[in-house]
Symmetry: C2
Subunit: 280 residues, 2 copies
């Protein structure tokens, strides 16, 4: 059951923050939803899910991306979950690192103690939260998914692992090959264990060859992103997509970095990409 925390009128629709108890994660979670004007006048609308990056919360995208203007015009709901389980009972990085634990759930289901109890963001995002929102909000069951950095990884993996679940997918500066980049290695070796064999099931580049559905991928990547070479490596995703015949539009945006100014600059393109699949 959703408990309303706050509500703001926005572009004729409503931005809301909710809190609820997640059985999957074993903690209280906050999330943010934007309902376009169409949803306030009786229509059920499609939902674009947004998965945020490291250190972000459910508030970041809603405050900084400038997505609500066009979402209102198109009639798309926006859904922004938090980036990890939270709370005093949820273990986190013992050194307080910003790239593991709280704020860094990597949208996977952990298999290793002590993480496996709470860190099940994949099931939360793909199953529990959609079921809850569809029961309580005017959504029509049509879902797209996007995200940024760690959340771009999450969006690609959610779509590739769950054929039929999403009608559209895109990503901004995604971690495309987490099995072999520092952020991913740190997270996967703890959440999934030091044996890397199960890591492939959470790595977009490695999921491409066996994907059961060839959902077109739209990926924007800033050419001046400081994480491009060490962490993000979209070239490996592109090579895998080309080899598998998986449709991918990878756009390098000249001089753009990793910030929400980059996201805001191109979010309208992504909204239209999703709207083309979600609105019938």
């Amino acid at each position: 059951m959703l408990t309303l925390l706050c509500e703001n009128r926005s572009f004729g629709g409503l931005h809301r923050r909710y809190r609820h108890t997640s059985a999957v994660l074993g903690c209280e979670m906050s999330l943010a939803v934007y309902l376009p004007p169409q949803a306030l006048s009786g229509a059920a609308v499609p939902a674009l899910w947004w998965l945020s990056g490291l250190t972000c919360t459910e508030e970041t995208f809603m405050q900084k991306a400038g997505a609500q203007r066009l979402a209102a015009s198109l009639g798309l709901a926006l859904v922004a979950p938090d980036t990890s389980p939270r709370g005093p009972q949820v273990p986190t990085d013992p050194d307080g690192a910003w790239d593991f634990g709280h704020g860094a759930g990597f949208y996977l289901d952990a298999s290793e103690a002590p993480w496996a109890t709470h860190y099940r963001m994949h099931t939360y995002v793909v199953r529990e939260l959609p079921d809850l929102l569809e029961a309580e909000l005017p959504l029509n069951g049509r879902h797209g998914i996007s995200g940024h950095s760690m959340g771009g990884h999450g969006a690609l993996v959610c779509a590739l692992r769950n054929p039929g679940r999403y009608l559209s997918v895109s990503a901004f500066a995604p971690i495309t090959r987490p099995s072999t980049c520092p952020w991913g290695e740190k997270a996967f070796s703890r959440y999934l264990g030091s044996d890397p064999s199960p890591w492939a099931a959470w790595d977009a580049t490695l999921l491409i060859p066996g994907a059961l559905e060839r959902l077109p991928l739209l990926v924007d990547q800033g050419s001046a992103d400081p994480f491009l070479e060490d962490q993000l490596r979209p070239g490996e995703l592109a090579a895998a997509a080309e080899a598998a015949g998986h449709p991918l539009q990878l756009r390098y945006q000249e001089s753009y970095d990793h910030s929400y100014y980059f996201i805001a600059s191109f979010i309208d393109d992504h909204l239209r990409h999703h709207a083309a699949a979600l609105l019938v």
Copy 2:
């Protein structure tokens, strides 16, 4: 001299944060500037100044208002100063209140000790900072001014006190009658002294009758703003404008509150209002 702190490509232009030493304020100040694409290809462009509200910094508007998309298209620079002098040498509220001192400079020139030494935001915003930016950035000397809440008060007062300085002015949910509202009384009685006679020179509603220039005012106010009755009171501004024959478009926006979601929803209207005066 401006020192560049960071730079982000945004909508084909550049968002930048600078730091500089303010002689007027006697401290180091940060500010944010958005330069539209036109300014990067050799053109000098007009500037829309944005004065933020209580507790905000130079970052708030740039991150949350969604203004850069249309500013890029129109060819307007955006300038966002901080909301007060800052630093260990700058006195602030002894109880750490959020509505006085740091983050709450009220865009006036204080007359009372210990505030008068540093709290000279009016002269900083109207003279020192424009002179500096015009010397170092591709600006063409045409200025508009807007702001939110305390900054909406600041925008109206800056325009009303300095005929000819600004070609356009607007405000979101401004404090229109600071002399008689709790936020204003607290700030004015300290910055300007307990004798209220000099307060009128910093009160938009009281400046209207004697204004030497009838610059049209555009004011948006959310009808669900929790501060509407106690602090903002645009009805008093409207009465003064009507009595003086000062052009004012006061729009009550149904169900909107005091947040940046409200600002984002109507910022495009304000950008167009300013562009009509600033672009020739």
